[in-house]
């Protein structure tokens, strides 16, 4: 209980929000790094995934990438990059690690989404004389949209978590508040930092769910689905198999 009231007091004190190591500055670093890296990752992963998915090639690569990404510890990659020559170049170790871990979920989900666009619909569109480009943009992309957004959400959550970890390897961001707290045996600060990080991650997830609903190119036209991931999953898998 002490830790909770202590963390509340910590968050309530204006001194902790201002300055170089204050919450606002750390939050700014966190959000800026996350957005930049997410944008880079999307630019790298989505065109490749959409193209491969459209052609129906490179499936093994796209699917196994996520497995490899899971087995490699983020922390190890961050530290390895920090100790490499890249480590002297400011934020670059963090940026490279972030992109490395954001690409697999984006690529895999977008690829699977493209592959699982209803074949009958695609055939019908081709029969109507649509060109490859029209097919991609007007048929496959809208059908793949939910899975692309799932990938974007996974990647975003991953990026926010990884920026937090970057603090362990000397990077900026909200994780610094937690590591500084551990360093000073200041439990209230550790808890306060953790609450901020968790809040940010949940906020990002919630905002992306809202964006997904609002920007759906087939809003209101999609067959009703009962659950977000769990229920939809079985259909996905069988179609992929």
């Amino acid at each position: 209980m002490d830790a909770i009231t202590g963390a509340w007091d910590w968050l309530g004190s204006a001194a902790n929000w201002a300055g170089e190591s204050g919450v606002w500055h750390r939050l700014g670093q966190h959000v800026q790094l996350s957005v930049v890296c997410l944008a880079i990752s999307c630019l790298l992963a989505l065109p490749v995934a959409l193209y491969l998915g459209h052609l129906g090639k490179g499936g093994a690569l796209a699917l196994n990438l996520a497995n490899v990404g899971r087995a490699v510890p983020t922390y190890a990659v961050l530290v390895l990059l920090t100790l490499s020559p890249l480590g002297k170049a400011g934020d670059w170790p963090t940026i490279v690690a972030l992109v490395l871990f954001a690409v697999p979920p984006l690529l895999t989900n977008a690829y699977v989404g493209m592959r699982e666009a209803d074949r009958d619909v695609v055939e019908a569109a081709r029969g109507m004389g649509m060109s490859g480009r029209q097919l991609l943009i007007r048929v496959e992309l809208p059908l793949a949209y939910p899975l692309i957004m799932t990938g974007l959400r996974s990647a975003s959550v991953q990026v926010v978590a990884t920026v937090t970890l970057a603090a362990l390897a000397g990077g900026g961001g909200l994780g610094r508040i937690i590591t500084a707290g551990f360093g000073n045996y200041d439990t209230p600060q550790v808890v306060a930092g953790a609450v901020l990080v968790a809040g940010l991650a949940l906020l990002v997830e919630a905002v992306l769910v809202a964006v997904e609903r609002l920007c759906d190119p087939m809003r209101g036209k999609r067959p009703a689905r009962t659950g977000r991931r769990g229920i939809r999953a079985p259909r996905k898998e069988t179609a992929a198999a």
């Binding site: 196994n64 996520a66 087995a71 983020t74 100790l83 895999t108 968790a198 769990g230 079985p234 898998e237």
Partner: protein, 285 residues
Amino acid sequence: MSTLLSTYPNTAMIQAAGPRNCLQANDWICGEYVRSRGQELLDATVQHVWITVASVAIGLLIAFPLALLARQRRGAAGPVLGLTTILYTVPSLAMFALLTPLFGVSAAVVVTGLVLYSLTILVRNILAGLQAVPEEVREAARGMGYGPLRLLFQVELPLALPALMAGLRIATVSTVAMTTIGAVVGFGGLGNLIDSGMQGFFKAEVLTASVLCVLLALIADLLLVGVQRALTPWTRAGRAGTGGAGAGGKDEEGTGGRDGKGGTGGGRPGAGRTRGLGRERKAVA
């Protein structure tokens, strides 16, 4: 190193000087490090393994009743799945930090955090596996006088096993990777070495620990594949019969990677069911 040795005539001298040099030169790869700190590496690996095994085992023990609850009561499914998803969204460093006041600086912090993460994947997969058991199979078993417990453990669970194992593999592999972050409270297994290597700018220590960590994940995954094959002999019989071996094996791999961090290996029951069903029918009939 070997090419270097073969090009120089006086290999004995280089060999004598080499090991000292690689520690002094702070090389990434250093055999002398592995030799001289073997015990340290072994201790870290042992800690890594027991933290992972404890986390996944406890996760499985909690996830199974939760999945049963979510299946039994429609009202429970939403909250159970929602809560585990929210837990999964919390970054690991924050999770460990939040658990520290509860458990103090101890291994319990790391194990609890990892259990909470594994729940997301395990509950989803077990639930999906159980839901994919065809109603006819259940009816047939009931008609043969199977009680609810026998039905669960002798019919439904074996049929849900491929989905469960797919989830277990994802959970184990990501737990192995995430254990490293336990270094923040000093219980990170190989993560502790990565941490101390970073503090001391000791490249060989960081690289060796990282590689060992990835190897652990791979070995754990392969072991679980072996366990799955041993537990589901009917799938292999099916493969030999239908010749669809390659497709079956690949499918599992692909499913694991499906959701990136979200890790919904859940769809597998579709494949598991169709493969298991014929076998099960035979067994029941």
